[in-house]
């Protein structure tokens, strides 16, 4: 079987706004949500900037008990799953539990809770043999990231396949791609899919400091994430989540669901090159893009918007620019390309899904979000990156890409229902 898969619900928790409306408002305003880290004293670190979410669990419907039990990443996953379900209208429809599955992307799962608990049990690192006497009963759920999928499955009443897709920084794209495959092949009719990551913790900041992947632009946090700008010097760590209701197209049509778009194509590749390094020619990303377009039966010049990985590291920006030129040809110079990481930072395993949400909302609103903080284009990055201001633009077909540690390169094409085959 090869069934079409529709996006019928969106839930977003992003820096600068909880909920899809606040998220889109931020993107089209061109404002940024990057700031000096407030979750802990960052003064010891090289990079002291992050895109944090102001999130009050109870305001977003979690009971005090849920808020205590759930790790922050799980809170984000559950709240955004509820939002996407409500957005799809499925909350009032009897889902067939056996035909509903869950696929959650996360790069680092419960790391923030793990580190907090470690400090207690080890007396701030003094004990190698940490003290198990006072261990939290919730530690295991932070230890094993699949608890994110379990919490979401419980939340929505899914009894089909459930899993966490953990492919580092492409987890957000790959979790949606995995869900697409399960629906397309006929295993399920509905999937709740998307990424959630809350990595703003001292150990994560320290490890990205060590490889100098994050920006040290500490004196100007609002303008710290500068993809494609000559002065960029690393990404801004972030947190967030985005969840989708994915539905077999006829299932969605039969209930008159609002359809944001179809997952027209998805592919992932590995560069088999380096755990953190990228080949400048972008060849594996190009292959993923090519196959996504092939699946969608879309000629390259019909792509109306490219949502770039755009992390703001030199090697990434050149890598993907090369991949766009190789796959889109001359059209690469004409199509708007932008990076929302300039505004909401890089939330590792969540951002791929947050970017899919941005793509779907771009189709919905006939506008493309800008690349903020782009004032001095890097001569090697010579495409139209939509600098600083959102642009009105009809968007029927979108390409979104991701690239991550481990060498993963993924691409997804989303098409408007009417233009689908």
């Amino acid at each position: 079987m090869n069934r079409s898969v529709a996006i019928t619900g969106i839930g977003v928790i992003a820096p600068g706004g909880v909920g899809k409306k606040a998220f889109w408002d931020l993107l089209v305003s061109g404002r940024t949500a990057t700031r000096t880290i407030s979750f802990f004293d960052p003064s010891r670190f090289r990079s002291q900037v992050a895109a944090e979410v102001d999130f009050d669990p109870q305001r977003y419907g979690l009971s005090p008990r849920e808020a205590r039990r759930l790790d922050r990443a799980a809170q984000f996953a559950v709240v955004s799953a509820r939002e996407c379900l409500a957005d799809s209208g499925l909350e009032f429809v009897k889902l067939d539990p056996h035909r509903t599955g869950v696929s959650i992307g996360s790069a680092v799962g419960g790391t923030t809770s793990l580190e907090r608990e470690y400090l207690v049990l080890s007396d701030s690192g003094k004990l190698w043999e940490v003290d198990s006497d006072y261990v939290s009963p919730h530690l295991f759920d932070a230890f094993v990231p699949s608890s994110l999928a379990a919490e979401v499955a419980w939340t929505v009443g899914a009894e089909g396949p459930a899993t966490v897709v953990s492919t580092g920084c492409t987890s957000g794209l790959d979790s949606v791609g995995y869900a697409r495959d399960l629906i397309a092949e006929g295993t399920v009719d509905v999937m709740i899919a998307g990424g959630a990551d809350t990595p703003i913790s001292p150990i994560a900041v320290a490890c990205f400091d060590a490889i100098k992947a994050t920006t040290p632009r500490n004196d100007d946090p609002e303008h710290a994430s500068r993809p494609f700008d000559r002065t960029r010097n690393g990404f801004v760590l972030a947190e967030g989540a985005a969840m989708f209701v994915l539905e077999e197209l006829e299932h969605a049509r039969a209930r008159g669901a609002h359809i944001y778009g179809l997952i027209g194509g998805y592919a992932t590749r590995c560069n088999a090159y380096h755990m953190t390094g990228l080949r400048p020619d972008g060849t594996e990303m190009a292959d993923a893009i090519r196959h996504s377009l092939d699946q969608a039966r879309l000629a390259p010049d019909r792509v109306d918007y490219v949502n770039a990985h755009g992390s703001g590291t030199k090697q990434n920006d050149r890598h993907e620019t090369a991949a766009f030129k190789e796959t889109l040809g001359d059209h690469a110079y004409r199509v708007p390309v932008s990076s929302i990481k300039s505004m909401v930072g890089h939330s590792l395993g969540a951002i791929g899904s947050i970017e899919i949400a941005a793509c779907a909302l771009a189709m919905e609103n006939s506008a493309v979000p800008p690349t903020a903080n782009l004032h001095e284009p890097d001569p090697e990055c010579d495409l139209d990156y939509v600098p600083n201001e959102a642009r009105e633009h009809r968007v029927d077909n979108v390409l979104s890409v991701g690239s991550g540690f481990g060498g993963f390169q993924s691409a997804m094409v989303i098409t408007r229902e009417e233009t689908a085959r």
């Binding site: 699949s146 490890c207 592919a267």
Partner: protein
């Protein structure tokens, strides 16, 4: 089913053919044996890898038994340049991955250049539930006792769940569709299922399976936090699934990496075939107290349906064997419903290793393949007082010989994950 207009390419959902996926290579790292044959022979002899923690003083912990791989010298197996950047779990995965490829007689770099293959026709899909935990324990300790400047550059990837897939991909130049799935202890079967899915989408060879290792003090403490560890101090009786004395499990380290190939491609290159991954399915159990039935039996039925087989054709079941009374009862009920009381031989060789998280179910798949090859069911160790009400035909203490064509492997992960794989002997269909 309808044919697609364009020819399927790796990673597309458009391929509607269902070529069979066969296992042609096995690599094992287990507490009772490093290397496939060493582990298999130890398993048939009933040799246990469970013992007290020896790397550090575990006397303060309520659970002190583990299934650890002793005598593993990574430097003997792995290039020196990879040692500073890898946690123990990744070293184990690299060793098992290399063994599996050698066992399959497959050189990925060479295959990629051959007709019918291509740059993106080889991939890797693994499961891992706890990351590079010992590595991150050391680095996080350095962060808090010596400062951020002391944190290793390798912390940025040595501990995340994708590390084994990434390092296997780099080591063997596997550039095709790849992935990492985490469903606690069911994830290893999900990885095998996804690996098979990539073959259906055009991949020719996929490394798959799972590996976990998190038995350092912080890892052990995190396992203890689950509330499901045995507090037993006698290695012979600490982990007794389906026994009246069942009181939790022993955590272990290790797993298995398999070479899964498109059957036609494997045949074309003259590969020896252990068996076919004939069926796979996963389900999720509803929240306890919902009144709805758990999903393990449904996963088994769906996997059997996927393989085109019926319960009658199953010759042996490799059980999940959680080792707590309620979970054992739930599994026994599912098995009775599927096969009838005492309806099929059931075994749990993991009683010799402890539960291996992402690595456990792939090791059971390896055991199932070798059982089919040798016509022998490996035993479950130590079950002196089987729960009578379970009415299971448990293969206890000594191997049981006889012709075997089909095995069912079951796995459950904490929270409600269920998965099942049907393994069919080569040439059995």
């Amino acid at each position: 089913m309808t044919a697609t207009a364009t020819s399927p390419a790796p990673g597309t959902a458009g391929d509607t053919t269902r070529p069979s996926a066969v296992v042609t290579g096995i690599g094992v790292a287990a507490p009772n044996g490093l290397g496939t044959e060493a582990w298999w022979q130890a398993t048939l002899r009933g040799e246990s890898g469970i013992g007290p923690v020896t790397d550090y003083d575990a006397s303060r912990y309520p659970s002190r038994l583990v299934g650890s791989i002793t005598g593993f010298d990574a430097a003997e197996h792995i290039p020196g340049r990879l040692l500073p950047q890898t946690d123990r779990v990744t070293r184990l995965a690299l060793v098992a991955g290399a063994e599996a490829l050698a066992d399959a007689g497959a050189d990925p770099a060479e295959l990629a250049g051959q007709d019918g293959y291509g740059d993106y026709s080889l991939g890797v899909v693994t499961s891992n539930a706890t990351g590079g935990f010992g590595f991150t324990h050391r680095e996080i300790r350095k962060l808090w006792t010596e400062g951020p400047q002391k944190v290793s550059v390798y912390e940025s990837f040595a501990w995340f769940y994708a590390v084994n897939t990434g390092q296997l991909s780099i080591r063997h130049k596997l550039r095709g569709p790849s992935g990492v799935l985490v469903s606690e202890q069911a994830g290893g079967l999900d990885a095998i299922g996804q690996s098979r899915r990539t073959l259906r989408q055009g991949v020719k060879l996929s490394l798959t399976g799972g590996m976990d290792s998190s038995l350092d003090p912080w890892g052990l403490t995190s396992h203890i936090a689950s509330g499901r560890l045995s507090r037993g101090t006698d290695p012979a009786t600490a982990y007794l699934p389906f026994d009246a004395r069942a009181a939790g499990h022993v955590p272990g380290e290790g797993g298995a990496i398999l070479v899964l190939e498109d059957a036609t491609a494997a045949r074309a290159r003259g590969a020896r075939v252990y068996g076919e991954i004939a069926g796979y399915a996963a389900t999720f159990s509803p929240r306890p107290g919902s009144g709805r039935p758990p999903g393990l039996e449904r996963a088994a039925r769906l996997a059997l349906a996927d393989s085109g087989l019926t319960p009658e054709s199953v010759d042996v079941v490799f059980a999940d064997a959680a080792g707590t009374p309620a979970a054992d009862e739930e599994e026994a009920t599912a098995l009775r419903s599927l096969f009838g009381p005492y309806g099929v031989p059931v075994t749990a060789p993991k009683t010799l290793t402890g539960r291996l998280y992402g690595g456990g179910a792939p090791l059971d798949v390896a055991g199932a393949l070798l059982a089919l090859r040798d016509g022998v069911v490996p035993p479950t160790a130590g079950i002196g007082r089987p729960v009578a009400g379970h009415r299971l035909d448990l293969v206890r203490d000594t191997p049981r010989e006889g012709p075997l064509r089909t095995a069912l492997v079951l796995a459950r992960g904490h929270g409600g994950f269920n998965a099942a794989v049907v393994v069919r002997a080569a040439g059995a269909s």
